[in-house]
């Protein structure tokens, strides 16, 4: 008898994205709007800092929580940008990507059988992460009529009052939805009333185009029950360097670090040096990338309007989330579009309830490719 996978692993199906990845890989003429990472290179200064750290032989473990100067820089950065105040010694943990931070949070806060409310459509790793932690996923749908914002009504209707943990991600992958203070307040009120621990994934916080980012942790009474996840992958185009961070009450961070110190020990040292340089010297690069995304966003939304494709005006991340413009399901449309025109988009169903009938269209792709892809979509629809 060979190795038996655990029930938790067996309970998690392969990612729905995998199928479209394999379909797209079968051809070499694909223009991909299915990519969930920046098409920009990591800012040069950050890259040179990584190389410099290697040349200086800085290749040993760092403190479990991450280099202190990096935690200090993170603390100063989030205070200045998002009005979040955290003690770098006790309330910030540097992780191997924001994904590790989310995973740590599930394992630190979820007991077997606990209910975790997940605002959906959602990043594909949340539900499996809950399962791996032994929890039960409770989908909380967001709706296009609400511009895919999480609402108190949806929380109540889905039974989230009985959940222990709420996971939310704004600006959102896959919808591009954002939430402002007025939208966050009722959610925060609900979390306080029902004693929910909130995992707020704010990895796309830097990528907002029509208003400033607000973190739910800044609302009254929320700092003590919220962990905020962020990282360098999206804002600084550092996906491959795998560096994220999580901030929250000292006891929460200490608990997460207890897992991190045994599993990961510390985040990659080279990446931490790159991240420190990025925080201290690469704001201009972030501004330039954000401005470029915004121009592409506006282009894509304008093209969809011209093509008669219904799409709410997403104001964050680098995704548009249009409705499927035919009678097909999202899966059928995405497969046919890929087959006929070589344009890869991801069906919304991959991202959970409420995603069906939509497509995730990434604009982390150059303007020439965006123009060609939308021309092909136009041809496909004719």
């Amino acid at each position: 008898m060979g190795i038996q996978l655990s029930e938790r692993v067996q309970a998690v199906p392969p990612s729905g994205i995998r199928k479209f990845f394999e379909l797209a890989e079968e051809r070499d003429d694909v223009i991909s709007l299915g990519v969930g990472e920046p098409d920009f290179a990591t800012p040069w200064r950050a890259r040179t800092a990584a190389v410099d750290s290697l040349e200086r032989g800085q290749t040993s473990y760092t403190a479990n929580r991450g280099m202190r100067e990096l935690r200090e820089a993170i603390g100063e950065h989030v205070d200045a940008e998002y009005d979040l105040e955290y003690d770098p010694d006790e309330e910030i943990l540097v992780t191997a990507g924001a994904s590790e931070a989310v995973d740590l949070a599930f394992r630190a806060f979820v007991n077997p059988g606990d209910t975790v409310a997940v605002a959906e459509p959602a990043y594909v790793s949340y539900a499996p992460g809950v399962t791996f932690a032994g929890g039960e996923v409770l989908p909380v749908p967001t709706y296009e009529r609400d511009e895919f914002r999480l609402t108190r009504e949806a929380l109540e209707a889905s039974g989230a009052a009985d959940a222990e943990v709420l996971v939310m991600c704004f600006p959102n992958n896959p919808t591009g939805a954002t939430m402002e203070l007025e939208h966050l307040a009722p959610v925060a009120e609900f979390a306080r009333e029902h004693d929910l621990t909130v995992i707020s994934d704010e990895i796309y916080a830097a990528l907002q185009y029509e208003h400033e980012h607000t973190s739910i942790a800044t609302l009254p009474g929320m700092a003590s029950r919220t962990v905020v996840v962020n990282g360098f992958s999206k804002a600084y185009a550092m996906t491959g360097l795998r560096l994220g961070y999580v901030m929250g009450p000292a006891e929460a961070i200490t608990g997460m670090n207890r897992i991190h110190q045994y599993g990961m020990l510390s985040a990659p040292t080279t990446a931490q040096h790159a991240a420190l340089e990025a925080l201290e010297h690469c704001d201009d690069a972030v501004d330039e990338m954000t401005a470029a995304y915004d121009r592409r966003r506006q282009f894509l939304l304008a093209r969809f309007e011209e093509l008669g494709i219904e799409c709410f005006r997403a104001k964050g991340a680098f995704y548009a989330f249009p409705e499927v413009p035919t009678e097909q399901t999202g899966d059928e449309f995405a497969e046919d579009l890929l087959e006929a025109e070589g344009v890869a988009v991801v069906p919304g169903s991959v991202f959970g309830s409420g995603g069906e009938g939509h497509l995730r269209v990434s604009y982390a792709t150059g303007m020439d490719e965006l123009r060609e892809a939308t021309d092909r979509i136009e041809r496909f629809l004719d």
Binding site: S32, V35, A41, A291, R295, Q298, A302, M367
Partner: protein
């Protein structure tokens, strides 16, 4: 037009001056007529001075030589930097001309069809200018980056075609 829309338009043109008016309108949220008017204003105001292709001549069969020439000048009561610059800028072979700080006065980029052409131009036209006291010529051997465009092969998109 707002300053941010004007900046977005300029950034878009810097990215690719060949974007169509329709694309620029989509990217900036402006009407096409507003884009056309704004570009006309930018040109008229001398903000946008021209549009050119960035050509990697090494990828062509055509011989093309570029030299950076450091030019020192000695001024007198009748001759200022402006006078010298006008004389230098008048030559078609002078592609770029800047007054710079440091060890020399003018940074001149000269383009020609051959090293002989460029040498002859510097010897026959630049050196004899009365105010010019010294020229130092550096021939460009390989161009790696020009006008913000990297000529290397690092632009390949090696991201997964579909990712979370």
């Amino acid at each position: 037009m707002t300053a941010s829309a004007r900046d977005a338009l300029l950034d878009s043109l810097l990215e690719n001056a060949r974007y169509s008016t329709a694309d620029l309108a989509r990217m900036t949220g402006l009407d096409e007529s507003d884009v056309e008017a704004a570009i006309a204003d930018l040109e008229e105001d001398g903000v946008v001075r021209g549009y050119r292709a960035v050509v990697d001549w090494e990828s062509t069969d055509r011989e093309r030589v570029r030299a950076v020439v450091e030019v020192n000048v000695e001024l007198d009561r009748e001759t200022g930097y402006g006078d010298v610059s006008r004389r230098l800028a008048g030559y078609d072979a002078v592609d770029t001309l800047r007054l710079v700080s440091g060890d020399y006065d003018f940074h001149v980029e000269v383009i020609g069809d051959s090293m002989r052409d460029v040498s002859a131009f510097i010897a026959d036209e630049i050196a004899p200018i009365p105010a010019v006291t010294q020229t130092v010529t550096h021939y460009a051997m390989t161009t790696y980056k020009e006008s913000g465009v990297d000529f290397g092969d690092g632009d390949d998109d090696d991201r997964l075609s579909v990712s979370p």
